[in-house]
Subunit: 145 residues, 2 copies
DNA sequence: CTGTGTGCAAACACTTTGCAGGTGT
DNA sequence: ACACCTGCAAAGTGTTTGCACACAG
């Protein structure tokens, strides 16, 4: 029984099941945001497609993971420490590499203040940066020589 | 024959057809981003679902409209003057009102410089702000009294 | 033991593809 | 006249729902 998964499920008052543990571990081990399809590949034939959908939905509702939107669809990533149980913060910066296709959560970057038009109120901000990541840039550069 | 639609189609080297004119007019008249579903409702039974899909795809490829991502899926909005034919700029700020569900393009707001981690290169930035818009705030406030 | 989670089947929604015929230039 | 656009049918993909059984607490 894995400690991280066990702790997380306990914290959020969810039953400890194989599928939930496996998905939590997948997120824990992968530094990138995962789509439903990714999870299906990572946990081949272990759990039903539908169960994965339902598990993801549960995790989003509980605030364990958050949705990441990019051009290819919806992905999910763990909410890090900044998201406590009560005080869930929703401002996320995501980086999508157009070369390798990986999407990562940039936890360290703070979104600057945005001046909205008068009368508009902001609740949540999502920033998606698309470009090339460190390892892909290295590859591209070395191929250039 | 509508001037705006006619001009746009001419500029982008596209044939002038009923469906294309109707969709361009819909975007022109609506200040908000439209999804495929919205267009189907706005142009009821005039054109086939498939034709609307294909028209949208064509417009995106030509740079006439751009995709807007929000939690509910993909929408489209006209690229304004800042996007010229050759020099297409991809940095967009979108505001989604959680009360009325409308998504608008905030053309006037400039995205601040984001400090990416070393070795990362940015090509395109998308910022989605969610909150309540002017007219919804007015409604909410007046109901409070 | 009880309520929740899972698997399976099926329904549903969204989007793409192939093809024949119609239309703009 | 020709290339391109459209409509229809069908397939493909992603997601949700209903129900019976299994399992965690």
């Amino acid at each position: 029984m894995n400690t991280f998964a066990h702790q997380t499920l306990k914290t959020y008052d969810l039953r400890h099941t194989g599928c939930r543990e496996a998905i939590l571990m997948a997120f824990y081990e992968q530094p990138t945001a995962l789509s439903h399809g990714h999870l299906e590949e990572l946990l081949p034939n272990l759990y039903d497609r539908v169960t994965i959908y339902r598990t993801l939905k549960t995790f989003v509702e509980k605030g364990i993971v958050h949705k990441v939107l990019d051009e290819d669809g919806i992905r999910y990533a763990l909410c890090k420490t900044a998201c406590s149980h009560q005080h869930h913060h929703h401002d996320h910066v995501h980086f999508k590499c157009v070369a390798c296709g990986q999407t990562t959560c940039l936890e360290t970057i703070v979104i600057p203040q945005i001046a909205l038009p008068n009368g508009y109120k902001s609740q949540e901000i999502n920033l998606l940066v698309q470009g090339t990541c460190l390892s892909c840039n290295v590859t591209i550069d070395s191929n250039t020589y």
